[in-house]
């Protein structure tokens, strides 16, 4: 596989962990001689101009990478509409060769179980466009990265960089990304560890809340009254 298109599904402008992931993957993929096109799928509905850009980008690509943050435990809505656009374009171009699809998602929680639906949705999308599924990375703990470059993250950054190097190798060879590649950052830790993390994280949040002089548990809608049909 040589030329791939990456859809960056982060709705954020500026600092973004998804963007850091895209950059890391691109660096490794290009080092292997591949070509990466990247489109931001930030807009909730792609405009006419963006559809043209997407159609042009899809012409002649061998693969499609879906990079996104987890929103309410699945794909963010903006990326869904871009996936619809990809499917529409491909349904209108029956001659297009099947795309190889892979993904990288991340969420704030340190656990990865809650990302299984997003991965399954990407796989269902691959089936819908008659593509070939390569799998990918579900990274728990994206909030700890918070848009910082991998070089600033020490050992964690090195591990992640290694994972993207491995992913780039697999994608360039059109191979399924095995668990051994993503394993170094796969957070299959004991629930006991998370149980201990909860009070610690809550303490940090409580301090932040006091500093801001706010009540983070506020229920602003409790005082509202609505008429119902």
């Amino acid at each position: 596989m040589n030329k791939i298109l990456i859809l960056n599904g982060s709705p954020r402008r500026g600092k973004s962990t998804t963007k850091i992931f895209v950059e890391a993957f691109t660096r490794h993929y290009e080092a292997l001689g591949g070509q990466v096109l990247c489109l931001s799928a930030r807009d909730p509905i792609p405009s006419g101009e963006e559809i043209i850009r997407l159609r042009n980008a899809l012409e002649g690509v061998d693969g499609l990478g879906l990079f996104f943050p987890l929103y309410v435990d699945s794909i963010p809505s903006n990326l869904l509409s871009w996936l619809n656009a990809v499917e529409s374009i491909l349904n209108g171009s029956p001659g297009q060769k099947p795309l190889q699809v892979f993904y990288a998602t991340q969420c704030g929680y340190p656990m990865t179980e809650n990302m299984k639906h997003a991965a399954a949705n990407c796989q269902c999308f691959t089936d819908a466009i008659h593509g070939q599924w390569l799998g990918g990375l579900s990274y728990g703990g994206g909030v700890m990265i918070n848009g910082r470059p991998l070089e600033e993250l020490g050992r964690k950054g090195e591990k992640l960089d290694g994972v993207f190097a491995g992913m780039a190798r697999c994608v360039s060879q059109g191979k399924i990304i095995p668990e051994s590649v993503t394993h170094p950052v796969f957070q299959r830790k004991s629930p006991l560890l998370f149980l201990l993390m909860v009070p610690l994280l809550n303490l940090i949040i409580r301090q932040d809340e006091r500093k801001a002089g706010l009540d983070y548990r506020a229920r602003p809608y409790d005082s509202l009254r609505f008429d119902w049909d």
Partner: protein
Amino acid sequence: MNRQSVILDGLSSKTQLHPAAETCLHILKTLKIPHKSFNLAADSMGPCIDCRVCSQKTVGQCFRRDKGSELTARLSMADYLIILTEVRYGAYDQPVKQAIDRFSLMGTPYFHFRGGQMHHVGRYPGRFSQLVFPLHDRARLMPSESGSSTEREEVRPEERVVFESLVRRDAEILYCRKCMVSWLQVSQGGLKKTMEASILSLMDVMEREAYA
């Protein structure tokens, strides 16, 4: 329990109600259930952009003052959330997901440990039950220049499994009291019977629990 129900209608167009939405509204009116329907094609709702304003500045409220804010406000006091949607890639269709993404403010920044997993502490936990009506089939997507397609295709069995699991997961993180999925086959009729049976069955369970 006053049965207040919020309907997320992801099926109707701007100008025309989908038969499932029409049937749902008719049932609720007949049963005298207080409700509010949001037609996602007509009601302007901006997307969540994870700006964290709702968790760290205007706590519990989105900075957007649009129908999405009314939706979350009504949901915080509702007993039922009824979702009408097409299914794509084993997920909600885009307009429905855009509305659901706005529900992230229903959780506080705090964490707790529940069912072996970390979750955000709910802001309005255990208030509503969720009833999802996905369509058995969906419009085949075609390029915009070829006009709107009337062709329909069935939702594949594997997508149905993923979707039902996703709905259960959403119900868990949104602290729903109960959750039910009822697939609709519009073309084969029997819409009213299916929807009425599902609505009444869920309400019956909830009311029994409330009186127990």
